[in-house]
């Protein structure tokens, strides 16, 4: 199981901190003056309990000005995802070994799936939400038919995905995310071998 070395969340001057795990969040909370993480979490969740947090954040970064609410929203989201990650790890380690082994073997066996995974990690996952970003990112639309996902990527990946700085493509007011299953057009029903349906190297 991958675990991050507990350390202070990555912070750049003027940037919002990112915590990879609870230990990093606890460390940050302590530096703000919260002796108990529960107090910090309550301050994030409840407007009524937020005064101490707002004061601490402004004291820590006097240049925060009007970004306090944005920072609190960011910290709440980080807290949520840390909790989800903890829960996910509890669940995934209990899954049948057969399922996880089969999944991994399949991911390795199909180059297109390998590329999808790596592209997600490189492009910040945002390419998966192409529809929501509405063309703000300059990558091929991978949602034009699930079958075209690999086809839109040229044999060399150069040019298929432009380098996107981490976090640099997420607009300050992102469009609402999906509330249901992603609307992915699925491939047509196969009539013969699956490989016949999707010609390789279809131009973008």
């Amino acid at each position: 199981m991958a675990t991050a070395t507990p350390s202070v969340g990555s912070e750049k001057p003027g940037a919002f901190p990112i915590f990879r795990n609870r230990a990093e969040m606890v460390d940050y909370a302590r530096k703000l003056g919260f002796k108990k993480i529960e107090e910090f979490e309550s301050a994030l969740d409840s407007v009524e309990k937020r005064e101490k947090l707002v004061e601490a954040l402004r004291k820590r970064d006097p240049k925060l000005n009007g970004q306090v609410e944005s920072l609190i929203k960011h910290l709440k989201l980080n807290k949520q995802e840390i909790a989800r990650k903890e829960r996910w790890y509890e669940k995934v380690l209990k899954l049948p070994g057969r399922a996880t082994k089969a999944t991994w073997e399949t991911m390795k066996r199909h180059p297109a799936i390998t590329l999808l995974i790596l592209a997600a990690l490189v492009a910040g996952g945002a390419y998966l939400a192409w529809d929501q970003l509405g063309g703000l990112v300059t990558v091929p639309n991978p949602m034009e038919g699930a079958s075209a996902v690999a086809d839109t990527v040229a044999p060399t990946t150069g040019g298929a995905f432009e380098a996107i700085p981490q976090g640099g493509i997420i607009p300050s007011n992102p469009m609402p995310g999906p509330t249901g299953a992603p609307n992915l057009p699925l491939p047509p029903s196969p009539t013969g071998g699956a490989a016949d349906l999707f010609p390789p190297n279809t131009p973008r």
């Binding site: 990112i18 380690l93 082994k101 609402p176 249901g180």
Partner: protein
């Protein structure tokens, strides 16, 4: 454990596969809808920790530098990376992978993989729904 958790749309594609391929597999409708928002996926990507898997960083570097598709392989990456990987791409990403796999499905091993992915997605959706 030969059950696939598929959305109604995915089931249509699955049902069109050859009988011999589908034999022995059952389906359950994936009704959970707690897919990640754009903001949540972006946060997960920033939170991702692959310190224990330098092979992933190397592969990601190769992708961003434009390496040829055929040179990219996960074979040197340990299976233990799977939980972190899946969390980072979320149920949304797992759905994309499933869609791709459904388009290239050819044998029982692929079906096993689809089963695994669908189970991972189902558990991910449960985790997402439990904490909002």
């Amino acid at each position: 454990m030969n059950t696939l958790f598929l959305t109604t749309e995915e089931q249509k594609v699955f049902q069109a596969l050859p009988d011999k391929l589908r034999e022995g597999w059952t389906m359950e409708v994936e009704r959970l809808t707690a897919y990640e928002t754009v903001e949540e996926l972006a946060m997960r990507q920033k939170m991702a920790s692959f310190d224990e898997f330098p092979q992933i960083a190397l592969l990601a570097k190769q992708v961003s530098e434009g390496s040829a598709l055929e040179k990219l392989s996960l074979h040197d990456v340990p299976q233990e990376v799977l939980p972190e990987l899946c969390f980072t791409i979320g149920a949304t990403g797992l759905t994309v992978l499933m869609a791709k796999l459904l388009s290239v499905m050819q044998n029982d091993e692929d079906l096993e993989g689809l089963m695994g992915l669908s189970l991972l997605r189902h558990e991910m959706l449960l985790s997402n729904a439990a904490i909002t």
